[in-house]
């Protein structure tokens, strides 16, 4: 199935005509989804015949920088039986304060268990909050680390456990 066909099918399944937006210059084909339809679209992608995206390959958070005031969550899906791939993109507002977490977006861990750790990583490094996540803690950094390192305006803390961080 090509990207345009997947888009048509999705619009019809989720009744979101005109709300899905193609993102140019992407590989695989990427759809921008409004936040409020994100979960429904993912559910349809996994369970509908002909689509059947059974594998969540990757979930990444992207910080677009303080000037844009936006963050993105990009989900890369693939279907093993149909051998097609798709990426979804959700935009959310970016807090001006580097220490502050973002608004919450729905967690996909109820649909694909693989999303669990990927979302924890996005939370850990970018401070993106996921709603209804079973266990949203830091995963790679220590639990008492301050700030979200992959934010473009990240500043390291001065000291960690009495050790100088910035030299």
């Amino acid at each position: 199935m090509t990207g345009a066909e997947i888009k048509l099918r999705l619009e019809e399944l989720c009744k979101v005509q005109g709300l899905l937006e193609d993102v140019p210059d992407t590989n695989p084909f990427t759809l921008k989804v409004p936040k409020e339809h994100y979960l429904a679209v993912c559910q349809a992608l996994k369970h509908s015949e002909g689509l059947y995206f059974d594998q969540l390959a990757c979930l990444s958070g992207v910080d677009l920088g303080p000037e844009s005031g936006l963050m993105e969550v990009v989900v890369h899906l693939s279907s093993i039986p149909y051998a097609h791939q798709l990426a979804l993109k959700v935009r959310l507002a970016r807090p001006a304060d580097p220490q502050e977490e973002t608004e919450a977006i729905p967690s996909l861990s109820g649909i694909w268990r693989a999303a669990d750790w990927h979302e924890r990583e996005a939370y850990d490094l970018l401070g993106i909050r996921f709603e209804n996540h079973p266990d949203l803690r830091r995963i790679l950094l220590p639990a008492d680390w301050i700030g979200f390192p992959l934010r473009k305006d990240y500043r390291e803390q001065e000291q960690y456990h009495g050790i100088k961080v910035i030299y």
Partner: protein
């Protein structure tokens, strides 16, 4: 700064604050017990801490704590030009660095639009070294697994054969583990003269040794008794958790990105995809995972043989062949987003690039490690198992913490 000053003030609360357990002492039942395995424990294959909640001998819950080897790969990648990220890529999965390089380089070449235009000799050399590294990876996986469950001889035998591969790769690139050999648009060097013959004689030497491995370990009754039926991973669970590579194939699905995507020159090569059939226990148990790895070694040897045929035949070395001739002067992809995936020895390795079109530094470079997703299934796999089987299950996942923590 004076070097004799003690900077770190020890405080037992630091550990509590930085890596708090999910089950503090007061929160568990009177017949339950929490055991911490790792972060420094040989059977966790690196620095992984497993917090295991036990009821008698049975595992009730298992919480992996990661991040002890976190080296900020993604943050580093946002500050470096594409060609300078390759050494960092090596350090993710440090026992199969060639494969990681191959995937990364393929992604960048796809972004700047030179994929498929490189001389065939370069592509054949890339696949040759990647498959050699795949063999080395599987030797480590099977060898250390045998040691985990108490058989020392196979480990030494596998290390002996891996040493031949490492020496060949050292001859090729100057480094034993972290090669920086595959470059964007080419290679660091052509094969050294005499490499093809040496590699051919190594494969001749290796084939009987792989047979030997089958007899010594895989079909050994003690090994079968210990691993068959242990750590059964159903296919649906494997797909749900994003498990890939030999672990997914052991659960019975014939899925290999070398065939599915057909990248590089893999479509021109003949090889099979071994899968686990549950010959000794149930499909997807610890035995199947090791059986698949051992069977893949034969296929890698087959691929290497075919690459050598090509490299000594139609694409043989010429006096004026320069593997650095196609290196781009400046790597500045136009604004785009790309997810590239490739079959690493441990599973699907993916890179998600965001390029802004204005600089030769990626705006965002996320690595999807295969070990990361493969490890996430551990807690489901271990629930209900006996604590004695836990080491057997952990070892059979074959993860490298360098890639989990990045």
């Amino acid at each position: 700064m004076p070097t004799d000053a003690i900077q770190y003030q020890y405080n037992p609360a630091h550990l509590q604050n930085s890596s708090p357990g999910k089950y503090p002492a007061g929160a568990i039942g009177s017949d339950q017990m929490v055991i911490n395995i790792g972060p420094q424990h040989p059977s966790t294959h690196g620095v992984l801490r497993l917090e295991v909640l036990l009821e008698g001998e049975q595992v009730v819950d298992l919480v992996p704590h990661l991040g002890f080897l976190h080296r900020c790969f993604e943050k580093h990648a946002e500050a470096l030009p594409y060609n300078q990220i390759i050494p960092y890529v090596d350090r993710m999965d440090y026992v199969s660095a060639m494969n990681s390089e191959h995937a990364f380089v393929m992604g960048v070449e796809r972004m700047i639009g030179i994929e498929g235009t490189l001389p065939k000799r370069i592509e054949y050399i890339r696949v040759l070294v990647a498959e050699l590294n795949r063999l080395a990876n599987h030797f480590i996986a099977v060898g250390t697994y045998a040691m985990d469950i108490g058989a020392f001889t196979p480990f030494l035998w596998m290390m002996r054969d891996r040493e031949h591969i490492l020496r060949m790769l050292e001859w090729l690139s100057g480094a034993r583990l972290l090669y920086n050999y595959i470059w964007i648009g080419g290679l660091f060097y052509d094969l050294p003269p005499g490499f093809e013959e040496k590699c051919r004689s190594f494969i001749r030497y290796l084939l009987p040794k792989l047979k030997e491995l089958d007899d010594l370990l895989i079909n050994n009754t003690i090994f079968v008794e210990r691993t068959a039926g242990v750590g059964h991973l159903p296919l649906s669970t494997a797909i749900d958790f994003g498990v890939t590579g030999p672990m997914l194939r052991a659960s019975g699905l014939r899925y290999d990105l070398r065939k599915v995507d057909g990248y590089s020159i893999y479509p021109e090569l003949e090889f099979e995809i071994p899968i686990g059939k549950g010959l000794k226990g149930s499909p997807g148990d610890c035995w199947d995972r090791n059986y698949v790895r051992a069977a893949e070694c034969f296929q890698s040897a087959r691929i290497i043989d075919q690459c050598l045929d090509a490299l000594m035949g139609p694409y043989a070395r010429t006096r004026d062949f320069d593997p650095q001739a196609m290196l781009p002067k400046k790597i500045r992809p136009k604004a785009q987003e790309l997810y590239v995936r490739a079959e690493n020895p441990k599973g699907e390795l993916g890179y998600y690039f965001v390029a802004d079109g204005k600089s030769d530094i990626p705006f965002r470079c996320k690595a999807r490690g295969c070990s990361f997703s493969n490890l996430s299934v551990l807690s489901t796999l271990a629930k209900g198992a006996l604590v004695a089987d836990l080491v057997a299950i952990v070892g059979s996942l074959d993860f490298v913490m360098g890639e989990v923590d990045r």
